[in-house]
């Protein structure tokens, strides 16, 4: 994917750029708002990572609003040190697609950038059926099968599995799952998400079957055909 980073802090920018390049992405970097705006408007990107506090007291949200007004629909991940719920809502309302609070773990950033990039590829395709390996989900009839076997899931387990399947072959972090499946933006101290995942795995991966969900160290989970 082609990614633009607008971030004035050199160290953070270097860390993110290097990490994303290692993950196989093409990365451009702008260290101020005007340049960022110019580059974003002149070249197509798959994802833009936008810092909120930019030099010259420019709010990244103003740039996002300007980009959206000019018809630019590139998915944007907002980086911010402001963690109020209201700030998060303001960020998303201004046209941002996701919001990540500084400081962050790189795994979290990478997972979210991947999710955003994927969204731009199959944008708007609310698929009726999802499939990973021999696991199939019919979203409308809420029917899940593994091969010939029917898997019975609780509503929340269904939502969790749907999210994992929609983001197959991508890392999803615990925070992303908390936000998307439970709508919680706080951090439970016990590893509750892990327990939910392991319970789900018991249902979709019987002993004889190939595992589908993999734990990614220091990041989260990934669902793949090959486990």
């Amino acid at each position: 994917m082609k990614i633009l980073i607008v971030e004035d802090n050199e160290r953070v920018a270097r860390f993110v750029t290097r990490g994303l390049r290692e993950a196989g992405h093409t990365v451009d970097h702008a260290d101020n708002g005007r340049e960022g705006m110019f580059i974003a408007a002149s070249e197509p990107y798959d994802v833009i990572v936008m810092d909120r506090m930019l030099p010259g007291n420019i709010d990244g949200l103003a740039i996002i609003e300007a980009l959206r007004k000019s018809g630019n629909r590139t998915p944007i991940l907002i980086l911010s040190a402001l963690n109020d719920v209201d700030e998060r809502i303001r960020g998303l309302r201004s046209g941002g697609d996701d919001y990540l609070t500084k400081p962050f773990a790189f795994g979290e950033l990478l997972a979210r950038v991947d999710a955003l990039g994927r969204r731009s590829i199959d944008s708007g395709a609310a698929q009726r059926t999802l499939q990973v390996g021999d696991l199939r989900m019919d979203v409308l009839s809420r029917r899940v099968t593994r091969g010939a076997r029917v898997v019975n899931l609780q509503p929340r387990e269904f939502k969790l599995l749907e999210y994992l399947m929609r983001h197959a072959n991508q890392v999803v972090t615990r925070t992303m799952l908390l936000e998307a499946v439970w709508d919680y933006n706080f951090d439970p101290q016990t590893n509750v998400v892990d327990v939910h995942i392991s319970k789900l795995r018991q249902k979709i991966e019987h002993d004889s079957e190939r595992p589908l969900v993999r734990t990614v160290r220091n990041a989260g989970y990934m669902m793949t055909e090959h486990g």
Binding site: T101, P103, R156, Y184, F186, P188, Q189, T190, V192
Partner: protein
């Protein structure tokens, strides 16, 4: 004197005195006018009629006829009721009950109605003078002195009312002002004491719920909140110094040791990972503190909506169920119907989550946790989380919700010591309280949220 005039109590009281005077005037002026019209103007018309009748007699019967007529009437009359006088053109009396033409009567011909004081006669007489043909002068009068006492009484009454109103008004104003000033002085002294740093000081509220008392109570509530916030701030700075220093010191020594000893790459990476974990721990404390500050500021109250506390708790319970199951904990949930409050669903969920989290950490394997949501008799919604873990020592209970407090029982468990502080802050934000009780054995933590969810 300037202070006396500037006193608002005095201004108000004096305004009321003036208003009273105006009301009195509004009462007296029409009365006086009505009196004047009926007594004076009415009498004048009667006298003019009388004078006209006598003139008719004169015109018919001449001077001799009129003289006889007047003499006859004077003879019949009750003394003093009617004044009659007929003179020739040189004002020499011809008939009537006046000895001489009185002074001060205009001598021009025509009919006049004048008030005159007659020497030797009772004063206050209404006179009508007519000049007849041949230069004769005729005076017809009516003594009005019997109305004088009434008039005098009315005037005195009015005067007394004005004086009474004025004296009572001013005296009342001074008394009210003194009373108000004394109480304002009391409030001012308390506020001065508070400004000098004694935050525990409160405004005097001995009296029975009047306006000033209500104001004092409200201000006391505000002071309570300010004291709580200031206390929180100083607590936090102390705790930051203490609790953040520990992991930061650990982190620092870890990194410094790395630079000094330069161990093998495998060991270096293990140490770096441990360092990242240290930083994460500091971050968690930071975000918990920021969250607390956000809740304490009360800003979230503007986003309050109607929330069913039972539904929120049910979702959190469902969220924790697998974790409890994994630990072999008996986890139960009871809700008595809908429990609607005005609140922030995310914060309420976090509070319930923190309570369950605490219980999960403290109960032994195969312990029991029960969550109950119900409405109390007074309409308050109660969210209770009970466990059979070690509980909290009675001595520690008042301190348990303080920031960074960690009881002896929880020393060894993970956590930063802010969970209950957040629950407490959320309860306070919703106008309620967090109560920590004994579950015999274990902890019974309940959030009581009042029906109206008014600000504290």
């Amino acid at each position: 004197m300037v202070r006396l005039i500037r006193s608002s109590a005095l201004t108000w009281a004096l305004s009321y005195v003036l208003l009273g005077l105006a009301a009195l005037a509004a009462f007296a002026v029409p009365l006086w006018y009505a009196w004047n019209v009926t007594i004076y103007s009415g009498r004048e018309a009667i006298l003019l009629d009388d004078a006209q009748r006598l003139t008719d007699v004169f015109n018919r019967e001449g001077v001799a006829g009129l003289t006889a007529h007047i003499n006859e009437r004077v003879g019949m009359q009750i003394a003093g009721e009617r004044t009659l006088l007929l003179t020739d053109d040189a004002y020499r009396p011809l008939a009537g009950n006046l000895a001489a033409w009185p002074q001060g009567i205009p001598s021009n011909p025509g009919t006049h109605a004048v008030m005159a004081d007659l020497a030797g006669q009772p004063p206050h007489t209404l006179l009508v003078q007519t000049t007849l043909r041949g230069g004769y002068h005729l005076l017809v009068g009516r003594d009005l002195s019997r109305f004088l006492p009434l008039e005098r009484r009315f005037t005195w009454g009015l005067f007394a009312s004005v004086t009474f109103l004025f004296v009572v008004g001013v005296a009342g104003a001074i008394l009210i002002r003194r009373e108000l000033l004394a109480r304002v002085q009391g409030i001012r002294q308390s506020v001065s004491a508070i400004m000098q740093g004694d935050l525990r000081h409160r405004l005097p509220t001995a009296r029975s719920g009047d306006e000033l008392d209500t104001l004092s109570q409200t201000l006391n509530g505000m002071l309570e909140h300010i004291e709580y916030l200031i206390h929180g701030i100083s607590n936090v700075s102390n705790s930051i110094a203490h609790d953040l220093r520990t992991p930061l010191a650990e982190l620092r020594s870890r990194l410094e040791e790395l630079t000094l000893t330069r161990p093998s790459p495998a060991e270096t990476f293990a140490e770096i990972e441990a360092a990242v974990a240290d930083v994460d721990r500091v971050m968690r404390i930071f975000s918990a503190l920021l969250r607390l500050a956000e809740i304490d500021s009360g800003a979230r109250r503007s986003g309050f909506v109607r929330v069913d506390a039972a539904a929120v708790a049910a979702e959190v319970v469902e969220f924790y169920e697998p974790a409890a199951e994994q630990k072999g904990v008996v986890f139960s949930f009871q809700a008595a119907g809908e429990a609607a409050v005005a609140g922030d669903p995310v914060l309420l969920a976090q509070a319930v989550s923190n309570l369950i989290d605490n219980s999960l950490k403290s109960v032994p394997d195969r312990g029991a946790i029960s969550v109950r949501v119900g409405r109390r008799a007074d309409g308050a919604v109660e969210i209770a989380v009970a466990d059979n873990g070690p509980g909290i020592d009675d001595a520690d209970k008042p301190k348990a919700a303080e920031r960074f407090f960690r009881g002896d029982a929880s020393r060894g468990t993970p956590g930063v010591g802010l969970g209950l502080s957040i629950v407490d802050a959320v309860a306070k934000l919703h106008g309620g309280v967090l109560q920590l009780l004994d579950n015999h054995p274990g902890l019974l933590a309940q959030m009581v949220l009042p029906l109206t969810s008014a600000p504290p």
